[in-house]
């Protein structure tokens, strides 16, 4: 608004340098809080920056150094669980120069790796991949180019990137334990079609182990459905109208559990009277009285917070891999009320 009119619009580091009567190198140092600048110089520069309304151009910074941008790859914006993770990310980013930018990978435009490429093209300083279904090989390829933290992806042996998870196997076991304690025996699991999700693999394993340990090995039954509303409906319908329907269904995520409740109601069934339903993630919808959904809390906010901290550490140079795991707990609500068990 003032002397930056020279170039027409935006104040640059050069304008600041002129205004403060110092070199551009000096301004750059103040900008990065680099060492080796006197207090008086720093003061002059800061004053000029303020006066000119100067803001560094991330793209230009990125040409030599950092852009102070972290890319978050989300598989699906509809699953409310991701909002919890993002809350944690934002908390971790407060008071830092870093800003998060989100890309949705399961959209029609981009696959997960295409989204990653696109983010690397845009000079992200680091990447947070959420619920990735990529192979270790692909993730290592990514990690070789940018600091990477995977949230919701199990690979405790990975050396090139960090992982942040809840203990999914345990979570699933706790669900089975909760249900059997309530008298349920015919417990099925509704999972997702995916050959590569380590999250699902762990939850399925936990379910199997839980059933075995309860002496219900013969009742193990896992159905797989695609992500879409339509597919889930069809699968749930198939389960519930089979000659030997389950007494309880454990769903891999809350959103699916809500759909199962819906299908059950449409079929005239009572939840939990005729069918118990349990979800995973303990998202805000579980609390609504019309759902009242028992679920597994994995502290999405904690996961997001830790992952972001780890990512910034990596950006700043850490190389040794870290693998963070939180302990999940079952939050019991009416949808699996034992008083109504068969």
């Amino acid at each position: 608004m003032t002397e930056k009119t020279k170039s027409g619009s935006r104040a640059t580091i050069k304008h600041v340098a002129e205004d403060a009567g110092v070199s551009v190198a000096a301004v750059s140092k103040v900008l990065r809080d680099a060492y080796g600048v006197s207090e008086s110089l720093r003061g002059k520069v800061r004053a000029s920056m303020e006066k000119l309304g100067y803001r560094p151009l991330a793209a230009a910074r990125g040409m030599r150094g950092q852009t102070y941008t972290i890319g978050i790859v989300l598989p699906d914006i509809r699953n409310p669980f991701f909002a919890d993770i993002l809350t944690g990310v934002n908390t971790a980013l407060e008071r830092t120069q870093y800003r998060p930018l989100i890309g949705i990978s399961h959209s029609s435009v981009e696959t997960e790796m295409a989204m990653v490429e696109s983010m690397i093209d845009r000079q992200m300083d680091g990447l947070l991949m959420i619920g990735s279904t990529e192979t270790r090989g692909n993730l290592e390829l990514v990690a070789g180019r940018k600091p990477l933290v995977a949230v919701g992806h199990h690979d405790p042996e990975a050396t090139q990137f960090d992982t942040v998870n809840n203990h999914d196997q345990l979570g699933a076991m706790l669900v089975v334990k909760h249900l059997t304690a309530g008298g349920y025996k015919k417990i099925s699991m509704l999972s997702l079609i995916s050959g590569t999700s380590t999250i699902l693999a762990q939850r399925e394993l936990g379910y199997r182990r839980g059933m075995m340990e309860a002496g219900l090995g013969k009742n193990i039954k896992i159905l797989h459905s695609a992500q879409t509303l339509r597919e889930v409906k069809i699968t749930a319908n198939k389960m519930l109208s089979s000659p030997t329907p389950p007494e309880a269904i454990f769903c891999w995520t809350d959103l699916i559990a809500l759909e199962v409740i819906s299908v059950a109601k449409e079929m005239g069934m009572q939840v939990p009277g005729d069918l118990a339903v349990v979800g995973y993630d303990n998202t805000m919808f579980c609390d609504f009285a019309q759902n009242n959904l028992t679920s597994v809390d994995q502290s999405g906010e904690q996961l997001g917070l830790q992952a972001t901290r780890l990512l910034i550490e990596r950006i700043k140079g850490r190389n040794a891999a870290e693998h963070f795991v939180v302990t999940p707990r079952v939050v019991v609500r009416q949808s699996s009320d034992p008083r109504n068990s068969p």
Copy 2:
């Protein structure tokens, strides 16, 4: 992987030029599909790009030209309606070089304008602001610096930016018409605390007009609540436990309507037996049997698609403002079933 090993990692335009035996200027032209390059040169360059696995660095392109990135400012990731809009955005972006990057503005890190600044720093070619509550003055400030399209923000007189909306006033009137046709008379509205949302202003106006036209002016009652689950609960509770409770509540968005249903159920009320509830946006949750929520469909996908088209036109040079409006329609479900009306 091949000869780009020179610089250590990423192939640049220079490597491509060397490999193809042409100038960097020529490569740049091929990249931008600019005119004035022979077919043979184009062929050679494309072959080299492929061979070297070349990808242009968006940040570097942005220093002189475009970054082919559009920034989407979302106020809230929890509202499922935004997913519908994003679906439309993705459809519009297919087969283009542009990629969408999303920022959440109502997070703790950024306000809406701060998010916009941050996106401008990161050289977005254009901005899509969704459900903005900024003043026209602020939006014009933004539009003066980057092409801007506002979705879910009414300002039909704006000349500096485009708007894309459904006819919110009409939508609200249709809701009142639907409810009164079902015999409901004591119809309240649950809105959001916001002095600046034009969307809310229009919906509230439509509600008022609808009530007046139905001769129910004396029953007009609008309550305002903050966005949080907690606040909505408190407000809904207040409404329902008043000495003269409403027979029907029209909520400004589905998410709030779901919370109202929850509160009603917790109070032992039947929906729609004791209370009719209507939402807005017709998101996927309306269809679930446990909600069965009547809502207003404003074709989020269409809005996203149109907005993105308009934005790309603006990026390519259009200056005259366009204001796109779709007609909403009420999708009737059980939550406002007239058979149960009082």
